[in-house]
């Protein structure tokens, strides 16, 4: 065997071995996480309107209940529901026209219904607020005008 022939044989063997080599890859894992925290959100807080008061007869005024509505995280009930700073009624309110005042109360049953989610397609849950205004001297001698009070409503999981 000549030297040139032997060289060719070795080179061919080397090339042949290359075709048997595998291509190396590598794999790792990525951990993906997210956390959903239970929350509650007020959807609507209506006006509690006692209407036009009749000072001549001055009856107790019990307007129709109004519904505060809320949504909570699915499976999460409200932990607290406050009217003013109170978690249970009655809330004693005072309407004012800047000069005179008229008292009233709000009662409610603390909501316990767990939410079904906060998506817009989820029907909000009602919390009826029942207002009541004493009659007689409570508003019989006050000046004419519009009486208002803003009462904070708060819900939390």
């Amino acid at each position: 065997m000549s030297s040139r022939t032997l060289s060719r044989w070795i080179a061919a063997a080397a090339l042949s071995s290359c075709s048997l080599l595998s291509w190396a890859s590598d794999t790792a894992t990525m951990t993906v996480t997210a956390t959903v925290v239970g929350v509650c959100k007020l959807v609507s807080v209506p006006t509690l309107d006692f209407g036009t008061l009749n000072q001549a007869t001055a009856p107790v005024v019990n307007p129709p209940a109004v519904n505060v509505t809320y949504r909570c995280t699915k499976g999460t009930p409200p932990g607290s529901f406050k009217v003013g700073t109170l978690t249970s009624g009655p809330f004693n309110g005072v309407l004012s026209n800047g000069t005179d005042t008229i008292t009233y109360t709000i009662n409610w049953t603390p909501p316990t219904t767990a939410g079904s989610g906060l998506g817009s397609g989820v029907t909000p849950i009602d919390v009826p607020l029942i207002g009541s205004m004493p009659g007689g001297a409570n508003y019989q001698n006050v000046s004419a005008g519009t009486y208002t009070q803003s009462v904070p409503i708060e819900i939390s999981p």
Binding site: S7, A11, S17, M30, T31, V32, T73
Partner: protein
């Protein structure tokens, strides 16, 4: 020419015909092979954090995979079996039977320049709006295989 002279001449010719050396030479061929290869140095977690159901909306989060490949090799990145970064991987974070959908997309890499030059590959995750607003509270997770192949 005498008989002795003839013998001397013949001997001289015979000596001249012998090879000066008996050495035998062949070339030695040295070879080496470079196998196209890639390695993942690290893949960071992708924590979307606390999802705010009150504000809602899409939640983006990025992660980084660090890899290196043989010079000239254009690697294929696979995330959860998906190999095209433009369409990406669609995953499901799970908490029991509850799930939150998300996607991971990336830019398909070009040719590598060698193992001494690690490459940072950004993995762009997103939980789309509407995917989590109605889900129960808790921790959701998924483990996804990231593979780089030459």
């Amino acid at each position: 020419m005498s008989q002795l002279a003839r013998i001397r001449i013949a001997a001289a010719i015979a000596v001249a015909a012998l090879p000066l050396s008996s050495a035998f030479a062949l070339d030695m061929v040295a070879t080496a092979s470079i196998t196209g290869a890639c390695s993942l140095t690290s893949v960071a977690p992708m924590p979307f954090g606390s999802l705010d159901q009150i504000t809602g909306g899409a939640v983006p989060k990025t992660s980084t995979a660090v890899y290196a490949c043989t010079n000239g090799v254009t690697p294929t990145v696979s995330v959860g079996g998906a190999t095209d970064g433009s369409t990406g991987f669609s995953g499901l974070l799970a908490k029991g039977t509850d799930t939150i959908a998300y996607t991971v997309k990336w830019t398909n890499p070009g040719a590598a320049t060698g193992f001494s030059t690690p490459v940072n590959l950004t993995l762009n995750g997103e939980i789309p709006a509407g995917a989590y607003e109605d889900k129960p509270a808790g921790s959701y997770t998924q483990t996804v295989a990231v593979t780089i192949a030459p």
